[in-house]
């Protein structure tokens, strides 16, 4: 088990929790006020979700304090998933609308 005494304190986790609540509030305001167009809104909300996920994975799940190999393996897998989603799936979904398939 990693040595908790040297690199993480309880106070840090309260700050992370507060940051997550603030980011959630920002998402709710943006979403409810429909500040952006739907596609831009999706991108902004996904970006905020990725930031929140990074905070949860890094601090609450302690990945920040694990070995570099584990960190890189997980981060690369997640980035690959997002890459496939954004560059292949979303354009394909958009394309179907213009093909006239209902």
């Amino acid at each position: 088990m990693h040595d908790t005494a040297t690199h993480d304190t309880k106070g840090q986790y309260f700050w992370v929790w507060a940051a997550l609540l603030v980011l959630t509030a920002i998402e709710v305001v943006l979403g409810y006020r429909q500040v952006f167009s739907p596609v831009r809104m999706l991108e902004v909300l996904l970006l905020l979700s990725v930031i929140k996920s990074a905070l949860i994975i890094g601090y609450f799940m302690h990945l920040k304090f694990e070995t570099a190999l584990m960190r890189w393996l997980l981060v690369l897998s997640v980035v690959t998933c997002f890459f496939i989603m954004y560059f292949f799936f979303f354009p394909d979904a958009e394309r179907i609308r213009h093909l006239g398939v209902q």
């Binding site: 997550l20 959630t24 979403g31 409810y32 999706l42 929140k52 996920s53 949860i56 694990e66």
Partner: protein, 273 residues
């Protein structure tokens, strides 16, 4: 010729020797849980991809969530985020050997998790009453109280992808939260959790009316009780800080998935008046 009798460390038998450090620098239980979470994230990833795909190609996509739905979902999000904090505090307590506070923080995590499930179940019931439904709810689950006209009823008839995606995603997540709460109960209270879970299951089975969507699914708690009983009674052990940490990984994962479901499902479908 003393050197000829000195054996290399690698061939010394019956003597404590150095072992090779694990590949990921963590104990096997933790690596095992990370591998499980990687596989589970593929499941949710597939569901989220399908939802996003549907959302983009279906035009117009319904936006039925009024302010009270968004407020309810926001409170649910705050419950899950707070539960993650209490889970971290439970892990800290376990690591310093403070068993009473470990149990207290685990109980607080369970309370937040249960609040999430109850709020979510109430929201489901409200949406189904107002007409948002899947055909299987009536034919398989015997749901009877649902509106046949109105905004949500029209969505169910004309854009079935919406209830399919909504109920599919949120049901899978709710199941994971329920399993997580049972897992926390087993870690915190061991065999003393079994009677409490049995009481909750039986109470749910009698109190949830037959026309409600949860009338039959509540028996998933019975399955959870059976699995927990097998684990706790066949392999009784005092769960240590490692076990609490591994449980924490699962719980934070459940929270993590909600961080994507909440904006994609709720915030992208808000009704702005």
């Amino acid at each position: 010729m003393a050197e000829a009798t000195i054996e290399h460390d690698a061939v010394q038998h019956a003597a404590p020797g150095a072992y090779e450090a694990p590949l990921f620098g963590a104990y096997s239980k933790k690596v095992g849980m990370w591998l499980f979470l990687a596989s589970d994230s593929l499941t949710f990833g597939a569901l989220l991809f399908a939802f996003s795909y549907n959302r983009i190609y279906t035009n117009p996509w319904p936006t039925p969530f009024h302010a009270e739905s968004i407020a309810n979902a926001t409170i649910m999000t705050a419950c899950l985020l707070s539960s993650s904090l209490t889970m971290v505090l439970a892990v800290f307590a376990a690591q310093r050997g403070d068993r009473p506070w470990m149990r207290n923080w685990l109980l607080a995590t369970m309370v937040f998790g249960t609040a999430f499930i109850v709020l979510h179940a109430m929201e489901w019931s409200k949406l189904i009453n107002e007409g948002l439904i899947l055909s299987g709810f009536q034919s398989i689950l015997g749901v009877s109280q649902t509106a046949t006209s109105g905004e949500l009823a029209d969505i169910s008839k004309n854009i079935p992808q919406f209830p399919q995606a909504f109920f599919g995603l949120t049901a899978m997540h709710m199941l994971h939260v329920t399993i997580g709460v049972i897992y926390l109960g087993v870690i915190a209270f061991r065999k003393w959790f079994l009677p409490a879970l049995a009481v909750i299951w039986i109470a749910g089975a009698f109190m949830i009316p037959s026309g409600n969507v949860f009338h039959y699914p509540v028996h998933a708690l019975g399955i959870g009780l059976l699995v927990a009983a097998v684990i706790v009674l066949l392999k009784p052990k005092d769960y240590d800080a490692h076990d609490v940490e591994v449980c924490g990984l699962y719980w934070h994962f459940v929270d993590l998935v909600w961080m994507f479901i909440f904006p994609l499902v709720y915030l992208m479908s808000t009704k702005v008046s």
